[in-house]
C-alpha cells in the first residue's frame, strides 16, 4: 500500500466522539496475550496452548494475506478490479478468528474477510473474481465451510444463526462464526440475530471487528458504550479482545466456539482493531480522520508484534522470514496473473441459476437475448 496522505485540515471532533480512537492496550477489560512489543502475557481466563509450527503458520498467514491485500489494491488502481475492500490492519483479527475454526464449522463473512477466506482454503482468485466483476464469489461455500461474501450489512448474522439452528437440529458438534463490523451492530437484523441466537441457544459466535469506522462514521455514532457489552442486554457473554493480537483472538474465539459446540449458546466477541487503509478503494479517509490516529495504530501492527515475538524467542529465524517473503511474492504473482487472465463471463450466463429450474418465460427471454446478440455477429 502506498503511504496515506497526511491529514492537514483541522476538524472538530465528531459529536460525542472520544476521538482519536486509541488502542486498548491499557484497558484491563481487553484480552491480550501478546503485547504490541511482542511479549507474551498471561490472562486469567484465556490461555493458549500453541506449538512453534502453529505460531510460524500464523505469521505466514498474516504476511500472505497482507500481501494479497496489497496486490489487490494495486490491481484495482491499475483498473483490473472494479473495487477492493482492504483488510490492512485487521489481519490478526481475521487470521486468529479463522484459525480458531475447526473442520465442519461454518463461517459467514462480510465483504472484507479475505484473511478468513485464506484460512478456510478459499482460492484467492475466487475472491478476486468478485471484485473484478466476473461473479459474486467463485468458491463452494459448503465445501470450504465459508459462506459467500454478504454485502448487505448484517444479513449474514441471521443466516449464521439459522445455520446454527440447523447444526442444533442435526445434533452436530459444530459451531458457526458470524463476522460483522462495528457499523453493522446498528442494523436491526443484526440485533434480531442476537435475539434469535439467545432464544434458541444457537451455537453461533458473533465476531465483530471493531475497526472504529463504518466508512466515515466513527464508532461513537453507533454506540455509547463498548460494543462487547451489547451482548449482556441479550443475555449472553460478550468479550473484548485486542484485535491486533492474533494469539488473543485465536484463544478467545476458540473458547467461544467450543462453548457453542458444547451447547452453551452464543458469544459476542469484539475484536478491537483499526482499519489502516481506506474503507474501499473508492474511499478517501483523509476527509474524516486524523493522521495522528493512524500513527498511533501503526505502533500496534499485528504482524510486527508477532515477528518480534518469533525472533526474540528464537521460534523463527531469518531463513524462515525470507521463505515467507518468497511465498508471499509467489502468491502475489499468482494472484496478479490469475486475475488479469481471468476469462470473461458468458453473457448468457446471467440467465443461469436464477432458478434451480429455469422457468419457461425466462428461457424464452434468454432465447431472445441470444438471438439478438447473434444478430450482431460479425458486426462487432
Amino acid at each position: 500500500m502506498t503511504a496515506l496522505p497526511e491529514f492537514t485540515e483541522v476538524v472538530d471532533p465528531v459529536p460525542g466522539a472520544a476521538a482519536p480512537h486509541l488502542p486498548p492496550s491499557c484497558d484491563s477489560g481487553t484480552v491480550q496475550l501478546l503485547t504490541p512489543e511482542g511479549d507474551r502475557v498471561e490472562h486469567p481466563e484465556y490461555s493458549l496452548d500453541i506449538g512453534d509450527d502453529e505460531l510460524r503458520g500464523l505469521y505466514r498467514d498474516l504476511v500472505l494475506v497482507r500481501r494479497w491485500d496489497a496486490e489487490a489494491t494495486a490491481l484495482q488502481r491499475q483498473g483490473e478490479l472494479g473495487l477492493w475492500a482492504s483488510l490492512l490492519g485487521q489481519e490478526a483479527a481475521q487470521v486468529g478468528a479463522g484459525r480458531a475454526l475447526q473442520d465442519g464449522d461454518m463461517a459467514f463473512p462480510t465483504y472484507r474477510e479475505h484473511g478468513v477466506a485464506w484460512t478456510r482454503g478459499v482460492d484467492p482468485l475466487h475472491v478476486m473474481s468478485l471484485f473484478r466483476g466476473v461473479d459474486n464469489g467463485g468458491w463452494d461455500p459448503a465445501a470450504r465451510g465459508f459462506n459467500l461474501y454478504t454485502i448487505v450489512i448484517g444479513a449474514q448474522c441471521l443466516h449464521a444463526t439459522g445455520y446454527a439452528m440447523g447444526v442444533q437440529r442435526d445434533g452436530a458438534e459444530q459451531a458457526v462464526l458470524a463476522f460483522l463490523g462495528d457499523g453493522a451492530t446498528s442494523q436491526g437484523e443484526v440485533n434480531e440475530a442476537m435475539i434469535f441466537a439467545a432464544s434458541f441457544s444457537a451455537p453461533v459466535v458473533f465476531f465483530c471487528q471493531n475497526n472504529q469506522y463504518a466508512i466515515s462514521v466513527p464508532l461513537e455514532r453507533q454506540t455509547r458504550i463498548p460494543l462487547y457489552q451489547r451482548a449482556a442486554g441479550f443475555g449472553f457473554p460478550g468479550v473484548r479482545v485486542d484485535g491486533n493480537d492474533v494469539l488473543a483472538v485465536l484463544a478467545v474465539t476458540r473458547q467461544a466456539l467450543q462453548a457453542a459446540r458444547e451447547g452453551q449458546g452464543p458469544t459476542f466477541i469484539e475484536a478491537f482493531t483499526y482499519r489502516m487503509g481506506a474503507h474501499t478503494t473508492s474511499d478517501d479517509p483523509t476527509r474524516y480522520r486524523l493522521a495522528s490516529e493512524l500513527e498511533e495504530w501503526k505502533l500496534r501492527d499485528p504482524i510486527a508484534r508477532l515477528k518480534a515475538h518469533l525472533s526474540r524467542s528464537g521460534i523463527a529465524d531469518a531463513t524462515f522470514f525470507e521463505s515467507v517473503e518468497a511465498d508471499a511474492d509467489e502468491l502475489a504473482a499468482r494472484i496478479r496473473s490469475g486475475t488479469v487472465g481471468m476469462p470473461e463471463p458468458e453473457p448468457s450466463s446471467m440467465f443461469e441459476h436464477v432458478y434451480a429450474e429455469k422457468p419457461a418465460p425466462l428461457a424464452a427471454q434468454q432465447a431472445e437475448f441470444d438471438a439478438y446478440h447473434a444478430s450482431f455477429e460479425g458486426e462487432r
Binding site: 443466516h159 439459522g162 446454527a164 437440529r169 434480531e192 436464477v354 419457461a360
Partner: protein
Amino acid sequence: MSTETLTIGKALNLGLRRAMEDDAKVVLMGEDIGRLGGVFRITDGLQKDFGEARVVDTPLAEAGILGTAVGLAMRGYRPVCEIQFDGFVFPAVNEIITQVAKIHARSQGRIPMPVVIRIPFGGGIGAVEHHSESPEAYFAHTAGLRVVAVSNPADAYWGIQQAIAHPDPVVFLEPKRRYWEKAEVDLDATPDPLFASRVVRGGDDVTVLAYGPMVKTALQAAEAAQEEGRSLEVIDLRTVSPLDLDPVMESVRRTGRCVVVHEAPTSLGLGAEIAARITESCFHSLEAPVLRVGGYDTPYPPSKLEEEYLPDLDRVLDAVDRSMGF
C-alpha cells in the same frame, strides 16, 4: 380413491402434515404457529406431533424468521415460514429480495434456497389496517422468486406440498377470506403441476383471469354473465410469477377480449404485466384492450369501506361490458 371434503385451511394443514412426514428436513417457522397453531390454525396440531424443533415459534421478528430460514436452507433444511398477515411481510422484505431471491444465482447454483413463505393475503374479513393487503406484485417483480396463489382446497393441499418439495423459493399466497370454503379433495390424485395456469370454466366471449380469492369472484361473474347470454372463459392463473400465459394467449386469441381481476392496487399490479404481455403477443387478435379490475390506488381502506374497494361480481361484469363495447 380417498376423497375428503376439506376447507382450504384444513387442506393446507393436511398438506403441511404430509410434507413433514415425507421429508424430515421440513421445518415450520413463524409467530404463534406452535401451541396456538397459528392465528388461522393452519398449523394446528403440528407442533404436538412433530415437536418444537420442527414447528418453531419464533421471536416476534419477520426479518429474523426469513434470515434464519436462509441459514437453515443453507444447512440443508426446507424452511416453511408463516407470515402472520400480509401486511407484516415488509420487515422481511430485505431478506426476501436481497437474499432469498438472489442466493441461488449469487452462488452459481451452489447454495440451495428451498424456502417457502406462506402468506395469508387479501381482504374481505373486516380486519384492521395491515391485515388485508395483497403484496404479490412486489414479489412478482423480484427475479429469483416464484409466487403462487391458490384458490381452492385441492390446490392448497397439493400446492403447499409441491412448493415445499420444489428447489426454488416460493411465496405461497393463501386467500385468507376463503380459508373456510370447502370442496372435495382427492388425496391420492396426481396433482397438476404447480406453476401452471388452468382454465376453470370454458367460454367464448371474454377471457377473465384471476388468482387466489378472486377466482371465485370471477366464476360468480361468469355464472351471472351466462344468464345474460354472455360466455366468459375463466382462467385461474395459480402461478403469479413467473407467469404461465400460454393457456391465456390461446384463450385470448379465441375470444379477442380479456379482463384481469385482482385485489391489489391496479397501478403496477399483476394486471399491468399481463396486459402488456398479452398485447405484445396477441396484438392482432385483440378486439379490445385488456381491461383491469383491481383495488384502487389508495391504501386499503378501513373495513367499513372494503366492499367498495374490492373487486366484486358487478365490477367484473362492468369490465366485461366495457370490453364488449369496444
